[in-house]
Symmetry: D2
Amino acid sequence: MKMKQPDIFKNLKRGPQIITWKDASLIAGFSGAHAGYKIVDAGSGSGFLAIFLGNLVRPGGKVISYEKRKEFAKIARENVKRAKLEDIVIIKEKDIARGIEEHDVDLITLDMAEPWNVVKHANKALKEKGFVVSYSPNIEQVKRFVEECKRHGLRHELTIECILREMVIREKASRPQNKGIMHTGYITFARKVKREGKDKEHGRG
Amino acid sequence: MKMKQPDIFKNLKRGPQIITWKDASLIAGFSGAHAGYKIVDAGSGSGFLAIFLGNLVRPGGKVISYEKRKEFAKIARENVKRAKLEDIVIIKEKDIARGIEEHDVDLITLDMAEPWNVVKHANKALKEKGFVVSYSPNIEQVKRFVEECKRHGLRHELTIECILREMVIREKASRPQNKGIMHTGYITFARKVKREGKDKEHGRG
Amino acid sequence: MKMKQPDIFKNLKRGPQIITWKDASLIAGFSGAHAGYKIVDAGSGSGFLAIFLGNLVRPGGKVISYEKRKEFAKIARENVKRAKLEDIVIIKEKDIARGIEEHDVDLITLDMAEPWNVVKHANKALKEKGFVVSYSPNIEQVKRFVEECKRHGLRHELTIECILREMVIREKASRPQNKGIMHTGYITFARKVKREGKDKEHGRG
Amino acid sequence: MKMKQPDIFKNLKRGPQIITWKDASLIAGFSGAHAGYKIVDAGSGSGFLAIFLGNLVRPGGKVISYEKRKEFAKIARENVKRAKLEDIVIIKEKDIARGIEEHDVDLITLDMAEPWNVVKHANKALKEKGFVVSYSPNIEQVKRFVEECKRHGLRHELTIECILREMVIREKASRPQNKGIMHTGYITFARKVKREGKDKEHGRG
């Protein structure tokens, strides 16, 4: 396979754990990210998801990506430069669990071990109808994140996992590739919807 | 699941066969579609893929969607209006197998029974490094499309299929949904790359 | 598809929740069930898993299947008769959580809501190297069952899930079926292995 | 994972391409193999499928496994000895495409590059209601095998593929394993059913 990555990822330095292309596509596609979106992302890691999203939100959009580990923030910044997205993607060397400085955010993407620590801040930072999306390998992380979202009145929309198989296409030998990645992570979408909690209390209480 | 569709799909009329959200996300994500892209699409069907892409390419981009069946072209146009994308998405009541009128196209998406009939036209219409993507339920369609791409010097990049499972997340009952869609279609990416054929002949011949 | 079921299942009455053929095959294949095996099963439900296993263990083997609900025990018994396995498969109208009356059992299969309640009894009833296998839809059930197995010194061997897709094979239209069962249950294998616990304590403690 | 294989596979020598445990389980489970079955198998390879089936058909059953390559026949025979199944499993150093010497066979399993060459012989060797099962990595092989079965009046019952995922079960980290085998092969079941062809001609012609 020659097409290992979208063009925007070319020439980037790879850290140990980068989001897969399929998951980045689904996060973007399901949350409707497009030009003008204001996105908060954490943790940056090598910056791949931030760059993927940065490519989508220009012109007029912004991706602010939090990364508390100095060495990763450095790699991420370098990658942003290589992708020529310095005007769009900002790497902040900060711990997002301590707070989100942005407001009226369209989308918050969380690729970190304890996404539930960010829900309270996400709820404040998001604009009405905005999404907070977590990307976690383990089902326990999903559960705790969903619980915390509900506790703060964010509506749990959807949790998905995607098994992607590459196909071998030959004249007499077409089949899925034999080996591959069986599991990357669960993607959870929660949404800020006005008075959802209230409606429920009144309507069903 | 409340989140049956991205917001851009709300209020649209559904025809019998619309592309799934996951496949639209992967087509867009893997081909790098973003603001400013010039996309040719066929057939429109109910217009869902054209609208999904239209949302991504604004401002500055364009989606020209070919549909030869009058009744579908009508539904697609109505849906484009409901999605408020009339300035971006054009529904052309024409058979794309007869030719593509556009030039310097970034991406051509083919959700039709015989995508191989369009390869010759796609090759002319695409700009250097542009993608032609087919979306087909059957492996025979994939094979014939890939062969035809190779015959015209387009590079076969990747064929994928995606099994997406929605998760049920409850305090004591987390699991994938029991029923769902097992298979939608194979997505094939081919690319216009200058003198690929020649290089091969010289380099390896 | 004409082949909806193995021949042994023909003419059986179906209750609401029967084990799938694929899962029965994996439980039998991975635990090595064959002629002569002594198997304890619970709950019987409509008796499908007991009958599937009964077919495998004859001659010389036995399947004792516990079912606490009277109406299910009746259906299961009738199905055993229809499958002509009365000499091999015994339906016991008892709650297995209260104890297992058998000894030197090769395999215990648990298709019930709270399989962890049976682990203590399974540990006593199993012969050395025997398997206890749970079949549960939810990950929380798997976790609790695995914990309980470990607590009783049974070795957790393997937890699997199987996505099975039927293929449509036509001259010009080969593909996986579009709809199907996305998830049935997780199958967990634990094994009675002498002094496993002790070795661990001494060897690693 | 400690449980890499069923006990019957322990101590066997592994050749380059052995059938997976899951596929062996499904072949056996779906075709109803049990004590007393007379099975023809080809090619033996390292003998794993023959041994798996040999374990199931004793007492009273037989597995005759054809292998035309001398070195594989030798390995397979050694493995049969290690599994202590010499009385049940016979390795024949012959090319099954030249003919099947057995009659009244319950099940024929074909794990070979060109299973269609055996269909004519299988049709003669099978008893009424017997199964011939092919196991092939590529869809083209499945198609040609199915066509040949139909041409000889064998009924195509089912073609399946199975994606099996092992689960990691930990207190705070439960998920499918990250890497694994994405694709092994398609399993096709065809069946000898009296006058199927004739009924069709008369009934529908």
